[in-house]
Structure formats: structure tokens, C-alpha cells
Point group: C2
Chain length 409, copies 2
């Protein structure tokens, strides 16, 4: 991709009230724009990052046995009345609800338990059809009073949500444990440090849920982390742990964190409310055991920026960077074209800055964009390339073949 | 993929009031479900088809120079007041509009001219930044009173919409012509016959727009096609062509058709309303020339089923089929596993029907699903495979290597 063709409108300054590093840097670097508070627009660079995060999550959900679907955003009221959540989420929480022109009460999906259950119920499953897990990656909507600029607290955001269905508590438990592993693997591949955090179980169960939290002082959640082992407790249930860490009894210390995922066991609670049963081996009918599993795809993108940037710009992990390498052409006769072509032929995704602007402007933009490697071709390096990792203090001059082998590692 | 694990809840019967082949067959075959009239849910098989259509369209838009973005579904009223379309689309047309809990007037995106223009305006383009084309593939919403089951007339549907920006009428014209070629190529790759149809120009211009129409007796549009050349005219402007076909003066005959895409030239109309200008080479400011280009991704899927099915089920074109081959295992000891493995190793996407159900049930489902090739392994073919194209009258028995070379063609 040529920088001269890329729609990435950068800004030197942004409004001071953006209030977060992710909003400021993603806006300045031309990754996102904001249609209204909490309503982001993804420009080409931003969409590339989002798609890479989604692909990793999709691969891990597929490996876990999940099957991808797309449920509807428009939600008929009748469905939500089966669980009593139409009123609850409309009044106390943040579901968009309105009447259409035929006076039908309609909502916008902020979660999809009711619809997922209705799909499985409609299929009249037998024990042979279970376990079954369906997931989707799409926009969700929350009529959020405290919406913020950036990607952390949105009215419109992108979620991966999965729903699993089982014949027994034991089967749900086994799947739930596998889901924790899949989640940790997904975040590790994305390059975002998280800690699995015990949280309250919610409406149907004494079983705890788990949140996946990224520790950062700008986080809105408080969690208590164990100094000795890899355990954390959400502050809403910390009172249940007077003896410290449940694993090793070491002291638990408060930290600020951003929640980037959460998983729940519902037992048979929803299935009882909505009449979701399966046919047993002996022809009887039993309620289905169920769990749900969320990852905030766009929130992950914002959180990565919060924890991975410096005063000059973003620092993307390689796996979700919009390009592998940012090639700055300082030559007068466009020698970068040939180098970019060879890098591309070697399987690298290259952003070539071919614009007739100053070296200083190109260098500043490379730091702002945060692509993992910056390569410079100039008359002064005599056909060699100056390569610098975004996180390294210094550059090294090397042959193109060496650059390629370094980047392919 | 094993059929025993695939969530594809088939139905023998569907409600008689579904009223269209695409609604009936996609529902019976477990590709889609319906949350409410015009609000589809894509199950795993349906999502596979949708993604393949989207990929072809994406490739053609990228080749045309389009850059992919994702704009917001939530639309602030203020933006639409700049063109006067808030009131127009809310009252006379079908835009969802409601107040959020902070009493802000909000709409759901049914088209994105205003938002696309605001993005480019905000970037303060110069002549060097143009031409520029941005596109997105995502859900759109219409508060459609005559919504139907299936994928042809939805409240919630998936569109590709592109917006192009130019320094001159000549540049817009050149891009518009290229877009017609790209569209014809995309439909050809998808396997959907379309005819480019001259339609009225709309609000800002005397220039005609073009619709891409698929001729079928279940279509809701009427177009007039030339018996001699590849030309068609939409019935809304047929009165302008009293002498027959504008190319060859042959007679124009009415046909029923489904509109699966449309493209418009706006001239500088929207740019004048919204103050979208670019800096010229001499430092002046001129209004930007603009076009927009839509393809109904989910409507294309429904239209393919309308024009490509028989009394037994769907007939997918190879390029958008959910799998390349549907392998039915009639053996008692699961010999299909090894065959499926070898097909997969050869790069084929295989659906293996490994269920302990009758041969008749498997054969009927293969016809219903409409995967382009059906392969059968049974004790009676002595290690060979019986291969039949969905559209062929008879099967042929051949070695696996021959099957693979036939399918890879």
C-alpha cells in the first residue's frame, strides 16, 4: 500500500477533551473518527487492526468447537419478555428500545442470550446434538449515558459473543475450563496482557464468572491481584475472600484494570425461563445447561493502545499491526518502489511512504502509526536499508535480504 | 466439517406464507432463520455463502481502488439535516429514527452519503488526495412496512456501499465507467446473471443512474430489455425512449427483475449542500464531484436462490457454495473419514455426512443443500467414489484421484 493513496487523515492536534490515550492517538493517527460520543468510525488503518483481532479470536473460537453465525441487531420485544429482561435492560440498564412505524416495540441487540436460546429451542435438540456452541462477531448497541471518545465505552461497539449448550453440569464445566484456556491463548496471540479474574456469578448461579482484565491505571474497574500467584478477584466480591488469595492465602492488592472479556455459567436458569430442553437417550426431556462468553473486539483494540504507546505514538504488537513494516523512502528517485516490491514478494505487508514530504514528517508519522518495524531507504545508506523496531532505541543498517529474514522471523 | 457437528437445523415443512423460494429453501435447508419479517439470522451454512459473496465484492472494490472502512450504524440527526434528508427519509421513506435516553435524535444508517462526505470534508482534501473511494460491507436498516421473509426485502440487510470523490466531472465519469465493469465482473464471479439497466438520475443530475437487475418472474421491478443488444431501461423512464432501444432502436420488451445493485452520479450536488470542497493546484477551492455505488450482499444471496434451484433444493454456483463437495458416507465403518481427509489435503472444502441416518435422507439433504458436487462412498463401489454434479442427471464412478482432479478444475 502506498501512503500517498491511503486514506489516513492525521491530525497534529486533537480536542483536549478526548480524555484517553486510545481516543487521542487513534484519532491523531487517522485510525478512527467519532460520529458521536461512543460511536466510532473505523478508517482503513483502524479496520485492518480490528480485522486482525477478529481473525485471532475467530480461530480460537473455531478451535474450541464454536460455529459462527450472525444473529440480528433488531430484537423483537416478545423474545425478551420470556426472560423478563425487556423491562430490566430497558429501564435500569442501557438497551436501545423504540417503536417502529408499525408500532412494534423493537430493541437493538446488546447481548444475544434470548435469541441464541430461541435458535436452539427451535431446532428441538436431542442429546446427540449437544454440546453445541454458536458465536458471532458483530456490532452491539448500548444506550450508554457515560459514553466516551475512543473505543473503551461505546454506544456502538464490536463484540464476539458465544453461547454454549450442554446436557449436564459436568459437560458445561469442562467446556467452561477450555474456554478460559482459549481466551488466554487469544489474548496472548493478540499481545494484550490479561489476568483471569473471579467475579460474581450473576442471577442464576452461585458459581463465579470470570472476567479477563488488563491492568492499567486508566482502568475503570478495581480488581485485587495476588502477589504470589496468577489470581485476581473483582472488587464486587472481594468481601468473600477475607483470608486473601483463595489459592495461596497471600495478600490481595487493589489495581485499576480494563475488562476486555467475560464468561458466565448460567446453569439451567435461562433454559427454564425459556423452555429450552433436549431429548434424552431414554426419550425424556431435560433442561439444557448453558454458558456465555464475550470478548470486546473493539475494546481490545483500544486497550492495546492504552497499555502500548509512548509519547510519540502507538506501539502495535506484531500480530495485530495494520502492516508488518513501514518503509520510508528518502530517495529522490523513488527507490522505495523496488524495495517494497521485494518485501511484498517475500510475503510482508508493507506500507510505503512515497510522499514528497520531509524526512522529519515521515519519521514522526512512523512513530505515530506504530507499525512494528520502520525501514528507511536513502541515498546515504548506499542501497542498504536502515531498520528499526518501533520499541528499539537504535536503527541498524543492513542488506535487504537481512531485513527480510529479520522481519520473517 | 462433519455434518454431525454442523448446526444446520433442517425442516421438512415451512409455513406456507413464506411466499418465496429463497425464504422457503434457505429456511428448510437450515441456512437462515427469521427473527421477525425482514430480519434474518444467518446460521453457519448461510454465513459461509454470505462471506464468499462479500469476499468477491471486496476483491473487486479493492481492485477498483476502493478503501474499506466501517462507518457507524447510529446516525446523529444533525448530520442528516445538512442535506435535508432527516425529514425526507424519516417521513416519506423508511429510516429508523428515535430518541435515545438523553433525548438525542438518532437514526439507524440505511445509506451513508452524509457520513462519508463528513469524513472527507473533515480531512480537508487537496487535489492531490483525489480521486478517493471508500466503501464498507455491513448491516443497514430500513423500517420497511412491506418486509418479507427471506433475503429480498429486509428491515436489516447487508450492503456494500462505496462513495467516490473526484476533482472533475471527467474523473467521476471515468471512475463510474470502471465501476460498471467492476460490478459486472463481481456478479459474473458470483454466478448471478445481471443486466445493467438505465434508470433515472435522481435529485442532483440529468445523468442516468444504473441498476443491476436479475431477470426473474418473481422480481418486483419491471425493466424493458432490448431483444438485439445487451441494454435495458427501467420502467420509470421508459417513456423517454419512444423509439425503442437507445443503441439499436430494436423493440424493448418488459420483464420482471430483482435489483441487486445500483450506482449513482451526484455531480457536485451533495458537496454543495454539505460544503465539501478541495484545494486546487492554484490554491483555490472547488466543490468535489461524487458518486455512490451499492450492492445488496444479502439480497444477492436470496436472488441466487430464486434463479438457481429446482424442486429438490438449492443449486449454488461453485464460487459462493458453502462447501466444494458434499461427501455422503454410506459405509458401515466410516470409510468417508479417510476420503474426506484426502480431499481436504488436496485443498477442497468438504462437508462429510457421517450421520447414522438412511441413504435416502442423506441424498435428499444433499439436493436440498445445493453444494455443487455430491460424492458417495459405499461398500458397493469397491473403494471408488460415485461423483455427481448437482446439475447433472447422472453420477459417475471413479477413483478418488480422478474425483479430486475433476473438482480442482
Amino acid at each position: 500500500m502506498h501512503r500517498s493513496h491511503l486514506f489516513a487523515p492525521t491530525r497534529r492536534e486533537v480536542a483536549a477533551d478526548l480524555g484517553s490515550a486510545n481516543a487521542e492517538l487513534l484519532t491523531r493517527a487517522g485510525y478512527i473518527r467519532t460520529a458521536a460520543a461512543g460511536v466510532p468510525i473505523y478508517l482503513p488503518l483502524g479496520l485492518r487492526v480490528l480485522e486482525k483481532i477478529a481473525r485471532i479470536v475467530r480461530e480460537e473460537m473455531d478451535a474450541l468447537g464454536g460455529q459462527e453465525v450472525i444473529m440480528s441487531a433488531l430484537q423483537p420485544k416478545e423474545l425478551w419478555e420470556e426472560t423478563g429482561r425487556w423491562q430490566k435492560l430497558g429501564q435500569n440498564d442501557v438497551m436501545y428500545q423504540f417503536k417502529d412505524r408499525s408500532e412494534r416495540e423493537t430493541g437493538l441487540g446488546m447481548t444475544h442470550e434470548e435469541m441464541a436460546i430461541s435458535l436452539i429451542r427451535d431446532a428441538q435438540p436431542s442429546y446427540k446434538d449437544l454440546p453445541l456452541a454458536i458465536y458471532q462477531i458483530q456490532k452491539k448497541f448500548r444506550d450508554e449515558a457515560r459514553a466516551k471518545a475512543g473505543l473503551l465505552r461505546g454506544r456502538e461497539f464490536i463484540m464476539k459473543d458465544m453461547y454454549s449448550f450442554h446436557v449436564s453440569e459436568a459437560d458445561l464445566e469442562a467446556f467452561y475450563k477450555q474456554a478460559i484456556s482459549s481466551y488466554l491463548k487469544a489474548y496472548e496471540r493478540i499481545g494484550l496482557p490479561v489476568i483471569a479474574t473471579i467475579a460474581s456469578g450473576g442471577v442464576f448461579t452461585e458459581n463465579h464468572s470470570h472476567e479477563f482484565q488488563t491492568i492499567t491505571e486508566v482502568g475503570e474497574d478495581t480488581i485485587y491481584t495476588c502477589a504470589k500467584c496468577n489470581q485476581a478477584i473483582n472488587d464486587e466480591i472481594i468481601a468473600n475472600f477475607p483470608d486473601g488469595c483463595p489459592n495461596c492465602h497471600a495478600e490481595l492488592k487493589p489495581e485499576r484494570a480494563i475488562e476486555v472479556g467475560n464468561i458466565f455459567r448460567f446453569g439451567t436458569g435461562y433454559s427454564e425461563q425459556m423452555g429450552l430442553t433436549y431429548t434424552t437417550e431414554t426419550g425424556g426431556r431435560e433442561h439444557v445447561w448453558m454458558g456465555s462468553y464475550g470478548i470486546g473486539i473493539s475494546r481490545v483494540m483500544g486497550t492495546v493502545v492504552e497499555v502500548s504507546h509512548d509519547e510519540r505514538g502507538i506501539i502495535w504488537p506484531r500480530s495485530i499491526a495494520p502492516f508488518d513494516v513501514h518503509l520510508l523512502d528518502f530517495t529522490k528517485d523513488g527507490q522505495g518502489e523496488k524495495v517494497a516490491h521485494q518485501m511484498k514478494a517475500a510475503g510482508l505487508d508493507v506500507l510505503l511512504d512515497d510522499r514528497p514530504v520531509s524526512a522529519g514528517e515521515k519519521l514522526a508519522e512512523a512513530d505515530l502509526f506504530g507499525i512494528p518495524y520502520r525501514a528507511i531507504i536513502s541515498e546515504k545508506t548506499a542501497g542498504q536499508i536502515e531498520l528499526k523496531a518501533r520499541t528499539a532505541p537504535d536503527a541498524r543498517v543492513m542488506l535487504l535480504t537481512e531485513v527480510i529474514s529479520t522481519l520473517k522471523r
